[in-house]
């Protein structure tokens, strides 16, 4: 019974914390369900509770606001199923590397993204490869590794909606973001 008492008091506490979800049904009994006597016999017997734990809601609130950023493009686009930084984006990498190197305290996050085809977790890993490719390209230009973090959003944050090739090409990208 102790765990039920505990759950009961815990629920009282939570209920006091203005949670947005109502806490229904605190378990108060732990007897097994009563088997009815055979039909025809008087159906007595006290039924037991079928209580279950409620769910307390947590609200994250607002996103972290982004920091100030340098002028100029900060997005590198990739071919389907590719992690190669194409030569046409080298100028973006070079411009950003100069900005990062100018201040050793500057922190930059490379956010890798994919198009919407395939699984969420596998796309997260694919986006990570793209982010790490851009980090490597910055490293080759002398940017210190400890200033750059490569993370992935997989397919969770598409830049363009739609399943046509034009939209998907906009989504296969790595964004250089300052925090």
């Amino acid at each position: 019974m102790n765990r039920f008492l505990l759950a009961f008091f815990a629920s009282l506490l939570i209920a006091g914390c203005a949670s947005s979800v109502k806490l229904d049904s605190v378990p108060v009994e732990d007897r097994a369900v009563t088997t009815l006597p055979q039909a025809g016999a008087a159906a007595e017997g006290t039924g037991s509770g079928v209580g279950k734990g409620g769910v307390t809601s947590v609200d994250i609130g607002k996103s972290v606001p982004p920091a100030a950023v340098p002028a100029g493009p900060r997005v590198v686009y990739f071919d389907y199923d590719s992690y190669v930084v194409k030569p046409e984006f080298q100028s973006i990498i070079e411009a950003q590397s100069r900005f990062i190197k100018a201040d050793k305290g500057r922190k930059v996050v490379i956010e890798g993204h994919t198009d919407e085809r395939g699984g969420r977790e596998y796309n997260l890993a694919l986006g990570q490869k793209r982010a790490e490719a851009v980090r490597s390209a910055l490293g080759l230009l002398g940017v210190f590794d400890n200033q750059v973090e490569a993370v992935s959003f997989g397919k969770e944050k598409p830049a363009a909606q739609g399943m046509d090739e034009a939209a998907m090409a906009k989504n296969r990208r790595a964004e250089i973001s300052y925090r």
């Binding site: 039909a39 509770g49 209580g51 809601s57 977790e121 997260l124």
Partner: protein, 432 residues
């Protein structure tokens, strides 16, 4: 005729849902609808008679029981109209045999003086004229649905020999506008309660083996980070927030360890972390992607996805680390492994001719079946009795959740009204 039998109860269900929406004053919750498609060969015909007194109760017990049984794929509902019964009645078996039923459920709902409801039922084998037993539950109005699910569990177990999963829970994520929410709902998708709301994506929820916690990936700090979350208290614990991406949490069957994918050392690689928190230890090493770990039910192996061979395939390794063994051999894109709790089946998503479909492999033989005809399936998860799979897919441009039998013959859609529904994970059996 078959279609009549199949659809009549569904019409009744729609009327029922409508009634439910009118009386529900709780905050907006995803209202789900069951759409059974397909016909199984060996479905048990069962009549679920309206429970005496349920018209004045907040939930229509018989309809919930019937929908549960139909969704399992093991039962076919037989018309039960026109006969008033309760758990004390001795049914006229010839009537039910003529209607084609093998079994009959009857019962009653009575409001008690303290505001609770007394729910009673009895199950009959009308072929043999045998009383198969009954139960009673005294529940709060909020637990009437749970009582109905427990009745369906009793019937399912009595008639199929397997444990029912109707009183278990599923977790899933909705996206509406730019709002992401993690929900805990009954296995029929009803009674959803919000566990987490965030302006940033939430993916990969995973129930702890005892059903008290969810592990998941949250992007609330603008990068993927792994948390565990006690669903009753709402208390969260940061499990993996290392440099780079942290994702794909999977519980070991003893609940002590989480396998995760970390990129802290470069590349997406598998690590194990104590569920109480701590330093990760590497499970495997590759120069490519290793992700989506899934423990086998005996805890001895970890299945995972790797592109070490050039394209994503499913492999397995000993859970303490060791040599990888390839598991999938057909196709060039096989991801999202889920192992059935009985250890017999591997569900995964395979890309075939450019579309992503749920597949099931019998592990003993390696025989593979495609079990869907949709094109954007994701995130399969087994019911705790290994008889159903819940997965995400798209229908008419919307993200929906489906359940399917392992042979793909019986599918039901769990479809909410607001936003896209995704990332399902089926929880364990609940302690009663």
């Amino acid at each position: 005729m078959i279609f009549h039998q199949l659809y009549r109860p569904l019409e009744a269900l729609r009327v029922f849902w409508l009634g439910l929406m009118l009386v529900t004053v709780a905050p907006v919750q995803a209202q789900f609808r069951v759409e059974v498609s397909g016909i199984g060969l060996n479905q048990l015909p069962i009549a679920v008679s309206a429970f005496r007194g349920e018209d004045s109760a907040p939930q229509k017990i018989a309809a919930i029981v019937q929908a549960d049984l139909e969704r399992s794929g093991q039962f076919r509902a037989v018309d039960s109209s026109g006969v008033a019964l309760d758990e004390l009645s001795r049914p006229d078996v010839t009537v039910w045999r003529q209607r084609g039923a093998d079994s009959l459920v009857s019962g009653s709902v009575t409001r008690l003086a303290d505001g609770r409801y007394d729910v009673r039922f009895r199950l009959w084998d009308v072929v043999r004229g045998q009383d198969l037993g009954g139960q009673s539950y005294a529940v709060t109005p909020a637990d009437l649905r749970l009582a109905a699910h427990r009745i369906a569990d009793f019937i399912y177990e009595k008639l199929t020999g397997d444990k029912g999963v109707f009183s278990t829970r599923i977790a899933y994520v909705t996206k509406a506008a730019q709002r992401y929410q993690l929900w805990v709902a009954d296995a029929d998708g009803e009674n959803s309660q919000s566990a987490l709301a965030s302006p940033e994506p939430i993916i990969s929820p995973a129930w702890s083996p005892n059903g008290s916690q969810l592990a998941y990936v949250s992007f609330e700090s603008r990068k993927p980070v792994v948390y565990t979350h006690d669903v009753v208290t709402g208390k969260r614990r940061l499990i993996a927030n290392f440099r780079g991406s942290n994702s794909a949490p999977a519980w070991s069957p003893d609940g002590r360890t989480l396998a995760v994918t970390l990129s802290r050392d470069g590349g997406s690689q598998l690590f194990a972390i104590d569920a109480a928190g701590g330093e990760p230890r590497r499970l495997a090493q590759s120069s490519g992607i290793d992700t989506e770990p899934a423990y086998s039910p005996d805890g001895k192996s970890i299945y995972f996805v790797s592109d070490r061979g050039g394209a994503p395939q499913i492999y397995k390794i000993p859970s303490l680390g060791g040599a990888a063994e390839r598991v999938t051999f057909t196709g060039s894109y096989n991801i999202s492994p889920a192992i059935s709790p009985d250890g017999r089946w591997l569900a995964y998503i395979s890309r075939v001719s450019g579309v992503f479909r749920l597949h099931v492999m019998e592990l003993a033989t390696g025989a593979v079946n495609a079990v869907s005809d949709t094109s954007a399936d994701e995130s399969p998860s087994f019911a705790p009795n290994s008889r159903l799979i819940v997965y995400a897919t798209q229908q008419q441009g919307r993200e929906v959740l489906m359940t399917t039998t392992l042979d793909g013959k019986i599918k039901a859609r769990l479809s909410g009204q607001s936003g896209n529904i995704r990332e399902p994970d089926w929880g364990p059996f609940q302690k009663q």
